[in-house]
Amino acid sequence: MRPGTLTTVVYLAACAAYPFAANADWFEDATGTAGIAFDHVNGATGDFWFPEIMGGGAAILDYDGDGRYDVYLVQSGDIGPAVEKSGRKAGDRLLRNVTEKGGAMRFEDVTERARIDARGYGQGVAVGDYDGDGDADIYVLNFGPNQLWRNNGDGTFEDVTKQAGVGDPGWGVSAAFADLDGDALPELFVVNYVDYQFDTHRECRAAGSSRRDYCSPSVYPFNRDTLYHNRGDGRFEDISEAAGVADDPQPGLGVVTADFNDDGHIDVYVANDGEPNHFWLNQGDLTFIDDALLAGNAVNAAGSAEAGMGVDAGDFDRNGALDLFVTHLVRETNTLYANDGTGWFSDVSAQSGVGAPSLPKTAFGTAFVDLDLDGWLDLFVVNGGVTIEADLAATDDPFPYHQTDQVFANRQGRFVDVTADAGRVLTESHVGRGAAFGDLDNDGRVDAVAANNNGPAKLLRNVAGTGRAWLGLELVDAEGRTQVHAAVWLLGDDGSDLWLHRARTDGSYASASDSRVVLGLGATAGAQSVRVIWPDGASERFDELTPNRYHRLQRGDGS
């Protein structure tokens, strides 16, 4: 990250100055052709058990190291006091990417072959290499104890929850692997929601109606988040209290980790539902201080604590600092907090154009992604209600919570809602929850997997940015292990920093994304140079990178 870039964002008039013509479509539905047939089941039978309405997560990861990114989908299943005792449920699915080079995307279900047997009431998923062996492990968040699946490196997984000591029994939705103490092994930060038990279940009603509906989290005690310290021997230790993150329990749903204040330590930002967000600033000794209020990212500009669901971090305005985007409930804006370069944020939702179009939606999974490869980070948001949509209910819709997703194009720092022109698949409505992002066909355009609650998972193939150049980067350390939290500056001809992207798997809602970095280059087509900032702050330059392909940048190979 570039420190102290205090450039005031100038929001330029959107379309007139925009140098690239937009394509007609941004996404096409590739679910069926890719062989994905996954229906999330929430088990709702009219009792309105709270976890029914929250689940649905997805991960994009290369579990078998073949360079083709695979998909993990979280299942929920039956729910209720009786089901608790009955045992097995449908279970999560692992879909292996078997796409041929240049061919259409194809996936095959390898869940059993991979020995994944995740049958909790699933909510979300996180991905990270917790044991430092170079492959991606999977952490599944449940309503009930979570599970850690260790990747054996041979295409199979092993449930190591007990040995690792990470079976957090709280109701977890999102989690993040992040090296918070600089020892090259990731800690695990688990975001928990509320203390919900069937025997303390509350009956709630739709606003102004006698109709049963799901409750707000405020009727239940809040759960504290859990920070697991990676001891380096395959085991974790719950240090939540000593670290300070247990001090203020709130109903957390989304989490993103990054060095927001450029002090060399990875911080943790948690989106809380209806309560002020947490901005856990890493003090460098595995203790954290929540400074969200002063940092300006606890509540919106009006002083209102919003219903935080999903979250992502990215440099949308190219000032070299990571901004935050948090998704919210209907009649609340999704909120864009711009980082001034010092770790202080301002709510620029209105000025940036993301605020007003989000008011009619309840938004969950999201990401800053340069969808159209113009070098500016766009936003994709999946939407779905948590309380009954009156107009759907009036038509006797059996599950009246669905909404359409949204795409916001970043036009030089100002966002434009381009959903109407983004493709027919964006006219479909679902109860959107998780969303994972990754380049599933390795064409340089980041695709999305939407994990819908009580509905089909959808694979949205990105078809935007046709004809534009890109640079794909896999960032690995000297031992060849993926380096999330590394950042990449694209360099200009004069060596100046142009724009910044970061490697990550966390963010969004209940989901994990492709750890690679794709830099959109617009019309630029020549060999490129980048500057990589490794997680410990060291910087390294790589030159002569040919566009329109992926490069593996290994620490120590640059200059």
């Binding site: 929001y11 001090d247 500009a301 000025q351 008011l359 209910a393």
Partner: protein, 534 residues
Amino acid sequence: MLRAGARRRAMGITVALTLVASLAAADSTVPKPDLSESAEPVRESLTAEAARMTALLSQTEDAWALASGWLALGDSYFAHDFYAEALTAYAAAQGRVGEQGPILYRVGLAHMAEGRAAPGVAAFDVAISDLPDSLRMPAFVRRGRARLDLGDTAGARNDFEAALRLAPESPAALGGLGRAELAAGDAAKARDYLKRALELDPAATRLHQPLGMAYRTLGNIPAARAILADVGDGEPTLSDPVIAAIAQRSRSPQFFVQTGLAQADRGNFDAAADFIGRAVALAPDDLTIVATHGRVLAESGNYGAARAAFERVTDADAASAEDWLYLGRIEQAEGQFKAAKVAFQNAIALNAKDSTARESLARILLHEGGFDEATTIYEALASETRARDERGRLNYWAAVSALGAGDCPGALKRLSDGLAGEPPFDAALLQASARAWATCPGTGAAHLQTAQSWSEDIYLAAPGVETARTLAMVYAALDRFEDAVDLQAEAMFEVLKLTGLERRPELQADMARYRSGQPALRAYAATDPLFQID
């Protein structure tokens, strides 16, 4: 409310035509929302309102009479969150009498309630110049807020300034202008407007956020932290006759409950009780609302009415743990400790995890002298809590409860847990530790020295009955009996002045021991005020 002869304004044509064109059929067809899931009073009221409008359409051709009817119907729909039907009704009113500020203002409100800022602003644009000042002021504020949502900072600033010209002391206008100035980058102006708004309406705690950001921008970090520590949900007060009129049409018990709870959030418990009382009148058999009424009545101090409400709920076996908790608190406040104990036990029976009910029960047990049972509860609560400060507080109560029972080992363990964290420690914890060390057998010299140091500091900082008594205990444990007698006499004199010594026999007992060269036996006697409930 409707004004005849309104002239058509060029800026309003687009909005008006759009509304009328899109809803052309509305003028003769009364919109009817799906009321199948609505509360009974709402269903009855809206069905009657729609029938009244249908009848009116067949009875008269008078444009103004029909427009008034449509407006009333629209307000009723609006009051019950049926915004689409409300918009249809308002459009029909407009179709009869042309553009009218009050109608378009309502159109703007309905759009804003649905989260549609742009059409909301468009409607306000047309409405504002055709409104009386009493409506123009809130209209300017609402359009300003909508413009802020749309990123139109300059337009928002103009609106809030216009609102201030009409109502120079409006917290809503000042707060809005402060937000607009902050968005425009003038933190000093923002600070001044927001501070003034909060002076006028201290309950507008949402304004703490922009004020904190203004202080931050100005480099005054301590002020920023101080104001941000109390960010809340309080909206600045905005007087709006249209909203008040619409609210009057509500027949939704839930509306009155929510309005009442919003008043309660601002600390206006009497008003809250009135609103929720209206909800009870609309839905007398809804025991959830009755219980909510009871809670607000209890908060307002009207224990008699609150008790009556809770008795209805408990008689019907419909009380939640929270209801029993409130009832217990009422009983406790009225000195009915046995009844309070039963109520807290009932709350716990319904929700064994209810920490508030458990602690309330422990408090009663302390009062009754049931120290062992109280200690068990406090220990369990301390072991369950994940918050450090809270655990320290509960450990303290477990310790003093154990001391009340004469359980020195148990008390010392709890106090040791409490002192294991990071200083500074609460004075009550230090005082309890000093007393424990001074009265428990086998205390070492080092602990007694620490006890002396702490209790002297605490006494000097806050001389009084209990601090003098603690120091007397410590001196006695150190064989400084003359000093102990002096301090005990001071404590007894203070008690004598305040309440008389008959309620504090332990003071005289300890004095007798000090005079005979013996240390105190108990850190806290059963008659200690710490265990009493006032």
